[in-house]
Amino acid sequence: MQKVNLCDACSKEKGVQDPTGFALADLLLGIGAAEEIEKGAPTQKCPVCGFSQADFKKTGRLGCSGCYVTFAEGLSTLLKAMHKGTKHVGKLPERAHRTMELTHQMRALNENLQKAVAAENYETAASLRDQIKQLENEISNSS
């Protein structure tokens, strides 16, 4: 009555879940996500860091941020099972925030351009095209 033993075996028995470590291995084996990634491209390696799926299966950790792109397909199944949602809705770094703002501006400019072209207002369209080009440069610089 003095303590509650929460070793791995007991915590399983008591229905306490551990999100990493053992639970991760369970998740991998249970849903077969790792196998799923492998089916797609068993020998695929991350071009950024040289990490392979076999390494992931062994460690449960990825090699670098680029791995999220390389192994995107298989990871999406895994992430769906692990988390509440599939899309990040929290904090944005200032940099990403700025890029998103620019993307919004770009969308607005494109819409206006289409309108101007439809109305055969070519002078406006030309100026909009210039603005779009400038914005494109800014976006490629910021990301």
Binding site: V16, L62, K84, K91
Partner: protein, 374 residues
Amino acid sequence: MKFSSVMTTPGEWLRGEGPHHQVVISSRVRLARNLRNRPFPGWAKKADRASILDLVRPCVEELPEMQDSFSESLQDLSALDRQVLVERHLISREHAAKGAGSAVVINRRQTLSVMINEEDHLRMQSIRSGLQLKQAFKLVDKIDSALESKLEFAFDRYLGYLTACPTNVGTGMRASAMLHLPGLVLSELINQVIQAVSKIGLAVRGLYGEGTEAMGNLFQISNQTTLGEKEEEIINRLSKVIETIIEKEHDARQALLQRKPNTLWDQIGRAYGVLTYAHAMASKEALNLLSIIKLGVDLGAFPEDRRLPIDELFIDTQPAHLQKSSQQKLNAEERDHLRAQIIRDRLKLLPRPDISRMARESGISPSDGPSNNE
């Protein structure tokens, strides 16, 4: 700041002055961040880790919050010093096992610690006394924003902050609170609470996190998922659950006082007896007995001004703190003797449990309680 000053000044959270401090010992929020397209620490070669450390460490040390901070490479810390930091929850057990290429930066008040090259390039943590998850988040969020202007973090529009382990992707945030729940343990309701909490996507763990045993009736509750929810939402949800558990703990204590006062008084009396007279004590036993004394303070069996020395014993009797204070390496038997001695010394001024006062304060008529024939 030198390591010796970290040792002599107890962290702010140890003082236990935060809201709901009777049940919530501390609140912690940590953020995991990585540099874009650089190998994560677990996969990086030694040279990579060293260059990442050289890049990140000055940025962390330059933060205004880190003025006069304690900053050290893990390889330059003795095993004992690392263990002291683990016992203070300033670094993780995983980080303590790291060597060259890893470092830790801790602010003067010990409310903020940044681990460099743990599982992720950066693990920033804020720790506060009592239930203060929002305040802890605010502090760590601020230094995250400051660092982000100097370092390019790995971020994806859909997946958020990218981390070595997919379980942390998104916010990269783990918010947790350390709860002292002797009432729920003594009334055997704790497993129900743990199960209910696990079902709503929160994790319950022991004293030192993942895979550790619950000792001293201390439990850590934290969010399990990091993707698909805003930081504030996660913290609000967690805070609400913790508030409910606080209520349940108080209910359980009241129920024990009403229905099983003899059990409760027996526990407190035995804990007092053993702690004040024992000459050998293992750290687990010490934690479990100190937990009961702490409960006794909460219930009025001991004077309120004895709270701090008892709270301090929770940390000071941990193996590394004990050896650090004795300035020598001790084997298990020597540690147990020293631990018992320190406890006896510190509890010298602790009066015997005042059962009648406890009964009065809880509204039980003396006839219901045990006779107080001392």
